[in-house]
């Protein structure tokens, strides 16, 4: 008697179904929870995805220091830092919604695939409910997409490409850091005052998403003040010797070199441009100038004395004198012995903002968090726009700041900085030239530089 029979076709079908089931990431399979990684115990886990190896490892370390400090402050340890100055008072120093905050870390290696893998691991294996950190727009866009699909919140770290909250924006993703458009809008008037309206600019640009959008933004902003763009040249991201790209600048007729480079690229291209004598040159009857639109304290240190007098922009600087900055610098400085970088500040602020949104929403559900961060009808003073709606806050170091609901981009004052001529300490590399008001760097959500994306709807995952 034959009790059952197994056909070859049936076996193959069954095997395929079983294999697909086993292979499917757990984040895409259904579960009893209302949303991905719903915290059920007495703790809640945050995932800090920063570059711990690779060229931006120092920046990643600084982000991690700030994130750890934020966790301490959320759990009621230490001096409380910017929780004392934050305008929202929903956080009580007892964790988030009474759950003690713990964290896991991942290494982005400043590579999109590695960053996605580490974020995925933190979500699937460690139960992280929010991912924060990173030092590259390529990484931020990749991880933001993953978090959207996984149903967790992504609070971006250092990402300056317009695309992060432009064509690649996602409902589950939020950016506190400023962007390339804002750099252009803040820098242009200062450049006009410092160097005049009759200038010819030559751009060297890192050949990836951030470089392209920064070049587009700075070209538009400088042409808006009357400058002519002589040439735009893309340089390979892996370049270390820029001499063959700098040499053509000498006789191009340009009198300004704009370096759309970041990190090691910026250190090397600026150093080499100075070695080529560009800053000692007179062209068109004017002193030749170099502009570095995006500065970082850590990279400014690497460039040494070459940054003296070179203008650029920043999201934040430890030398600001508002109460939030003072509280953060004291807290960070006492713990680690040196002032925080602007990537540290943005990560700290993002962790606090996430925790505050959960507390205000009364839920860890990503959709409730998105609603809390979008904030309803608060608006930024001094800006007349239908899109001026979102969550308005203050006391996190940047003055009044709006998390705009339309694209999840923060709007706040932007700093224009300059390499200090006579630094008194090793941290004193940059000086603040101007604090550009948020209204001046405002743009509409449908601005052409940010067009093409769709925020979509929040994804709770489960």
């Amino acid at each position: 008697m034959k009790l059952y029979s197994v056909s070859r076709r049936g076996l193959l079908k069954g095997g395929a179904v079983l294999g697909a089931g086993l292979a499917a990431p757990t984040i895409f399979t259904s579960r009893a929870s209302a949303f991905t990684n719903e915290p059920t115990g007495s703790t809640v886990t945050l995932g800090f995805n920063v570059p711990q190896t690779g060229p931006y490892a120092e920046e990643g370390k600084d982000e991690l220091r700030a994130q750890q400090l934020a966790v301490e402050h959320l759990n009621g340890e230490g001096d409380g830092g910017m929780l004392n100055t934050f305008s929202s008072k929903a956080l009580q120093g007892n964790g988030i919604l009474g759950k003690k905050v713990t964290f896991v870390t991942g290494d982005t290696q400043t590579k999109s695939d590695a960053a996605r893998a580490s974020a995925k691991s933190m979500i699937e294996k460690d139960g992280a409910i929010m991912i924060n950190g990173g030092s590259s727009s390529g990484v931020a866009i990749a991880v933001q997409g993953l978090c959207q699909d996984a149903g967790v919140i992504f609070m971006a770290g250092l990402t300056h490409s317009n695309d992060t909250t432009g064509k690649d924006k996602k409902a589950n993703g939020f950016r506190h850091f400023f962007n390339a458009y804002m750099s252009g809008a803040a820098l242009a008037p200062v450049l006009k005052n410092a160097y005049g309206a009759d200038r010819r600019a030559y751009h060297l640009t890192a050949d990836y998403t951030w470089g392209w959008t920064q070049q587009e933004s700075i070209v538009a902003a400088t042409e808006g003040i009357g400058w002519e763009t002589v040439e735009t040249v893309l340089t390979p991201l892996a370049s270390t010797d820029f001499s063959s790209y700098i040499a053509p600048v000498l006789n191009s007729g340009a009198d300004v070199l704009v370096l759309n480079h970041y990190g090691g690229n910026m250190v090397n291209s600026l150093t080499q441009a100075v070695q080529f004598g560009l800053r000692d040159k007179t062209v068109n009857g004017k002193q030749f100038e170099i502009v570095v639109p995006l500065y970082s304290e850590l990279m400014a240190k690497g460039a040494g004395e070459n940054i003296k007098g070179v203008l650029g922009s920043m999201n934040w600087n430890w030398q600001l004198d508002d109460a939030g900055t003072k509280a953060f610098v004291q807290s960070f400085g006492k713990k680690y012995g040196f002032p925080p970088s602007n990537s540290a500040q943005t990560c700290y602020a993002q962790v606090i903002l996430y925790a505050d949104a959960v507390a205000r929403a009364g839920s860890f559900n990503p959709c409730a968090v998105v609603e809390a961060l979008e904030g309803g009808d608060s608006s930024l003073p001094g800006v007349s726009s239908a899109a001026n709606k979102g969550f308005l806050f203050d006391g996190l170091g940047n003055g009044p700041t709006l998390y705009r609901s339309a694209d999840h981009q923060c709007f706040k004052d932007v700093l224009v900085v300059k390499g200090r001529e006579n630094p008194t300490t090793e941290y004193d590399t940059l000086e603040i030239v101007e604090k550009t008001p948020a209204a001046q760097v405002w743009y509409e959500p449908d601005h052409p530089m940010f067009a093409g994306g769709n925020l979509g709807t929040c994804n709770p995952g489960a």
């Binding site: 063959s244 690497g302 040494g304």
Partner: protein
Amino acid sequence: MDAIILQLLNGLDKGSAYALIALGLSLIFGTLGVVNFAHGALFMIGAFCAVTLNKLFSLSTVTIDPTKKDFLGNPLQVKTPYLESWFGDFGAGLMDWSVPLSILFSIPIMLAIGFVMERGLIKHFYKRPHADQILVTFGLAIVLQEIVKAFYGANPISTPAPDLLKGSLDFGIILGFDPNAVIYPAWRFVYFLFAAVIIGGVFAFLQFTTFGMVVRAGMADRETVGLLGINIDRRFTIMFGLAAAVAGMAGVMYAPINSPNYHMGMDFLVLSFVVVVVGGMGSLTGAVAAGFLLGILESFASMNEVKSFFQSIMLPSIDQIIIYLVAVIILLTRPRGLMGRKGVMED
């Protein structure tokens, strides 16, 4: 014309770095038959010798200035380098010239590192396949760069040239062009001269000394030289040390051009291997010639006019692929490279 001369100078300068690293690689391959993927790390360690001496020279005494505040509002700690407080202007001069002085500092260090590397690790892989040698030396390179990162961090560290050589030279006047038409950094020109002296010195050492003659004989026929009662292994170990010292000095002098970081060796490694293969495995002259050739081609490929031309024939980003493109063409037409010898790497 001025643009072409500028790119020629650039190419010679880039080629100097490629040639110096490739020369060391070829020396090691030609003598010991080892494909040393840790050679880039030796270049990086050389650059960090310059960083280290600079830091040693900058060791400071700390005094408190109550009139100034630090970032936490405490009285400012003012650092005065010991060299300056002990020797005044002479001490300041030593600090200013720390990079050239680092050459003397780096030679014994690099010789020692080369000796330890060869005796401690690489000699155990002489009779193993090239793939094993590549794996172990690549692993060693990663270990060395992680050690450097642990001590110095991942950020580039500014290591400036002496004030006297920081500026640029006006070659335009020398060559009969308008003033400022052909400006080139003084330190890069020094680097080119330095590379020429080192390359010339290595060739002269091999060509005109008894030691060099034995080494060349060993490179041609190791067994016969051994049968003559000469300890060729000891001489080859010394050559490994010499190759390490050449890479180290190249790194020291490169420190003011690119602020040293732990990854800089890897940035040069792949290109240098292409240079060695194009020059011909084991050929010292080929390595040097290919280094300069590829350096010059890479520079010309970065010119906007050249890029535009290749873009128009559907070949974008020629500056990024030129070296590999030329390598493919040369290896297709001359499979042993420009000056490769028969029988090398053909087993």
